[in-house]
Symmetry: C2
Subunit: 687 residues, 2 copies
């Protein structure tokens, strides 16, 4: 993995032009057999024949899909800009070389079951060409009419980069139902040469793309990907990510599927938070949020929802959904209630949620307009029978269309999400056409609004820290050396001395003062092995503990340490980890008994600054302890943040360290003190 800044190694736009806007296309392995990739892709390529030359190549020559099939690329006799390689695994290298010989600047390697060879990759790089895949499903670009995919896809304003082809086909169905489509679809395959980060960066200035969806099993250069996503967000394009859970079976599936070098949940979530990437869990959610991303590229003003329904049950269910999703459905003030009473029938509920309770369809518009005018809501949620009134005859249908026009006008300035019992009517299509997201599931309608009120989305484009250049590696990750290194970096440790004999131990204890802690060194988890004795109050106790450990553990050395006063302070854990894709991560959590009960951890991409460290601390449940809840003293949060910053910097500068932990870090009223530390070296990465 390279952790260079994203700008370097990024392809020039011209390189990707051959992939997305080729002047000519050749399909190698084009076939007449409707059960073969070579057939599906040739059919797709020919749909763009009016835009560019399309050549079909088949070893056996003859005719394919009514066109002459060339027996080789060479036989075409014209330059080939983009070559699609739908050939068997054993012919792949040869076909790729033939295409490069013919001047191809871009290659697409369809599903072959074999990785690309290193010689081929080297030649591709030398010739400044690009390779997509291999083992991918192809490319679709709506603006250039490029349809190198096995099934027709709906065109629209959303780009999709995916490590799965079948998921793209399923997503296409969800998107068609939602009335949206793809600006560009790239099946990533093995990412042997072209990786997600470069393709994502290319979308930042891609005018037809207004929102971006990702399905990734392996994040490649994770920092570069996160940086590109942050830049896309800054350019007003929301980035949605679906990836397998970090559970054991999901990881097993991903590794088997794309040989992915997978990252754990904390690493992915930390990267998403830094970049402003919005993570989703299913394809349905991806399509639903893509609609919302188009409608609302920027965060909402706040989280107050005005809710309008024509049924009490719908109002109640939607209110509960909204509040569960973290939105507010505030009761409106008396003035607004009065105004709503003026425009709605007697039976209507007007406190918010609004229940029109039998009013004609125009009540939706009157209620929504009144709510928006009040300034008491930041967004609108409409739920119920709207879009179904057209069933009651022409007059109702006309009134409904007029209502939809008025709602669409409101939606230009106030985010509006609609849930309807009738998602497939003319009225529903009309409403979708205005850009208002219309959902069949109330939960989806609510989730869409909740996203733009979420802090991580609301914060807008993120802060993806660059990894600094590695500094001189620590020579020794042993206990005493590590303590020394971290202390020099600025983390205060409890006074200690490494000793090798009972005599030295007694001498050290006399210098440090009783009570004393004795640790047997040379083991990563000292306390698990009975290698830590605390509260030794005199020389006799120290001698006994020393002898006990010497006999049981025979350690290479001991550490004699001053005993910290735990009363009044609280134990925390601070740590760092090197993720194969995202590099250094820093974490902070509750220590001691709370670590077990609370599972209370905050994680970020390292390095972090002081404000970010404070924010991570504030996020913990034990923030209450630090702040001095229930009459306890306020603890030194600033010092805890300072130690966290230092640890994050050390981790970021030391890629040779896989894991680094200070546990416990005692946070006191005046400062912090580290009581123990451990580190694990990173094994050389097998790639």
């Amino acid at each position: 993995m390279s952790a260079l800044p994203a700008e370097e190694g990024e392809p020039e736009p011209s390189r990707l032009d051959a992939l997305f806007a080729p002047t000519s296309v050749a399909v190698l392995g084009a076939s007449e057999d409707p059960a073969k990739w070579g057939n599906w892709l040739a059919v797709g390529a020919l749909r763009g024949e009016h835009r560019r030359a399309v050549h079909l190549v088949n070893r056996r020559g003859g005719t394919v899909l009514g066109r002459r099939a060339f027996v080789s690329v060479a036989e075409i006799g014209q330059p080939v800009d983009l070559a699609v390689l739908a050939v068997p695994a054993e012919s792949f290298e040869e076909a790729a070389n033939d295409a490069l010989d013919a001047g191809a600047r871009a290659l697409i390697g369809i599903t072959t079951g074999k990785p690309a060879g290193t010689a081929l990759l080297a030649r591709i790089r030398e010739s400044d060409a690009v390779l997509l895949g291999p083992n991918c499903m192809g490319v679709f670009d709506a603006a250039t009419g490029l349809e190198l995919v096995p099934e027709p896809l709906p065109a629209g304003p959303v780009a999709f980069l995916s490590q799965s082809g079948n998921l793209a086909l399923e997503l296409a169905a969800f998107m068609t139902d939602a009335g949206i489509g793809f600006s560009r679809f790239v099946s990533l395959g093995d990412q042997a040469e072209l990786a997600a980060a470069a393709l994502l960066r290319d979308l930042i200035d891609h005018a037809p793309t207004r929102a971006i969806m990702l399905y990734l099993e392996d994040f490649g250069d994770g920092r570069a990907l996160a940086s590109a996503a942050a830049a896309a967000r800054a350019a007003g394009k929301r980035v949605l990510l679906l990836c397998p859970e970090s559970s054991e079976a999901a990881q097993r599936a991903a590794r088997s599927h794309t040989a992915a070098l997978t990252s754990d949940a904390a690493a992915i979530d930390a990267a998403c938070e830094a970049a402003g990437i919005e993570r989703v869990r299913t394809l349905g959610e991806l399509a639903a949020l893509a609609c919302a991303a188009l409608a609302w590229p920027t965060p909402a003003r706040g989280r107050r929802v005005g809710l309008v329904s024509d049924g009490g049950g719908h109002a109640a269910i939607a209110s509960g959904c909204a509040e569960r999703a973290g939105l507010e459905v505030p009761a409106v003030g008396p003035d607004t209630e009065r105004r709503l009473r003026e425009v709605l029938p007697q039976r209507a509920a007007v406190a918010n949620p609004i229940d029109l309770a039998g009013d004609e369809v125009g009540g939706f518009a009157r209620a929504a307009e009144t709510l928006v005018a009040s300034g008491e809501v930041d967004m609108l949620l409409v739920t119920g029978y709207l879009c179904g009134y057209e069933r009651y005859g022409e007059r109702a249908a006309a009134a409904e269309l007029e209502t939809i026009g008025r709602l669409a006008a409101l939606a230009r300035h106030t985010p509006m999400s609609v849930h309807t019992m009738h998602p497939d009517t003319r009225a529903a299509r009309e409403l979708r056409g205005t850009g208002v997201p219309v959902y069949r599931d109330v939960e989806a309608a609510v989730a869409a609004l909740a996203r733009i009120a979420r802090p991580d989305v609301a914060r807008g484009a993120g802060r993806v820290p660059l990894l600094p250049a590695p500094t001189v590696a620590f020579e020794d990750l042993g206990y005493s050396a590590l303590r020394g290194s971290l202390a020099r970096a600025g983390i205060p440790f409890i006074a200690a001395r490494e000793v090798y004999s009972r005599g030295e131990a007694l001498e050290a204890a006399a210098d440090l003062g009783f009570p004393i802690v004795l640790k047997a060194l040379g083991r990563l988890h000292k306390s698990d092995a009975g290698g830590v004795a605390i509260g030794l109050s005199d020389a006799g106790e120290l001698e006994a503990a020393f002898e006990d450990m010497r006999v049981r553990l025979d350690p290479p050395a001991f550490s004699v340490e001053r005993m910290a006063d735990l009363a009044g302070g609280t134990e925390m854990i601070i740590g760092a980890r090197w993720d194969p894709r995202f590099g250094a991560l820093v974490m902070v959590g509750a220590g001691g008994i709370n670590a077990e009960m609370l599972r209370d951890v905050a994680v970020a991409l390292a390095p972090i600054d002081h404000d970010h460290a404070l924010e991570l601390l504030r996020r913990l449940r034990v923030a209450a302890l630090l702040a001095g809840a229930r009459g306890r003293p306020q603890l030194d949060v600033e010092a805890a943040a300072g130690a966290l910053v230092v640890l994050s910097e050390v981790a970021a500068e030391h890629p040779e360290i896989a894991e680094l932990e200070i546990n416990p870090l005692l946070v006191c009223q005046g400062g912090v003190i580290a009581l123990d530390a451990r580190a694990v070296a990173r094994e050389p990465l097998r790639l």
Copy 2:
């Protein structure tokens, strides 16, 4: 609210016969106008004309829907068994009385906007008739061909009792898509006479009903409802409940919609757990789980999922969904891997999840059969392109149908849930027809399986405790009296003495021994007002604290108490509450600083027995503290459970108490000791 056992007050079956299987029906307010309830219901009633006499009544006489319209019920001249009252609010009472005069044994009051009068209700009860509603949408019974509803509904094996009509219409659409329908639908309306509990109890022996869905805003006699649900579960009918969240806006909506006397989340969840009711959050989830309830009326053997897919992305996403939902997707053993290798192609992933990776459709059956034969999985999840192979021509379609047959055979003994990209194909309909749940959303397919592996479902029919008859009410809920009452019931309290002067305080302290706690009485929250002084170590400190409180608070009395040794023990809170619908609830949670950080509470319907108390304690995060984690001493969990049982019994026997709390209850190594208590009397219920 009545908290009588469910058996009492339940209508005789014969009473409901007139509602669901009437010998004749009269629709009062029948209308020719297609925008009126009287039209929709008359149309629905006439669909059952071949089953029973249907009479239309309209004041103006003439003809309605091609039939003679009687000007009154009296004019019909034949007995009327069931009368549907679709008349304006002001005519409702008169129409109801007319119908009773004509011998009606059942009345349905459609949406009128007015509650039923007490005189009418009294007459209905006297005449042993039933009233559904008013303000309801009607009744549907598939077996008897009774369609007294405004829109046609799909017939099937699932009953639905609902306080919302629109939700039923929306649910009908979801159910139609899922290939299921209603055995019976009852729109509950105001529940002025017939309430959900009685209607639910009637479904237990209703043969056409194989699963039950509820939408409730007000639970009426909650214990009777829970008992009926538990009986239905015991009879093999799963009970699914949708109800508004206990959030502020949702409650506002429910109160406005049905004047519901709402219960909070903890009460509803405790009742659901006791009864084995499965709570859902949306209509989509309700329909999805109804399919599953039909397929799997009983719990699964375990939570191990065999996952079969034809795409790596689908396998990864589904695995993550399954593990997030609490299921396991275990790697299969080497023997099973080998057997899978024998029946699947080289490229297939065989560790579970299985990825067929390009095998023909029969691979689904071979993989699933091998997994089931291994005994290493308890359920099957199929995800991906299955049901779409028919697109690849007749041979593929035939192979797919054969595969579906083999899968259906497996599903007879092993729960199987299918997610498909192609939910609307012939193959999908075929598969649904065999009883296998088929979903468009992978999350729904997973959620269905997760439910039957959930402990609350797996435990099967529940344990709904009866409320005991109220005992003699406590005369005094003041601090010292309450301590005395609870101590007599069996909860040990710290030694204390109520005093009224400085002299008495000093005398009490001398008897109890320093250090001492002094509390100012007469306030519910003593510590918030500075009315508690702890650790007073001598007479001087006690005098000073006494004087300070006297001057600041002027309390009517003081309590002088022995100071408990908090070290080594842990503080808990135990409490009880009277819910207007479910009666007494008991709760236990972490105390002290943990109460704030953990929000760690378990709640149950009171009274509970000792085993149930232990189970509630085990559920808490602080169970780790009680069990003696990280070298701490093990605390007396049995004594804590004992105190909880006593408190639950006291609460159940004392409906005059709204809230009762012991906080803290100190749990030590040998026993528990209550350090403070408070109670709030229940205000007379306004109904």
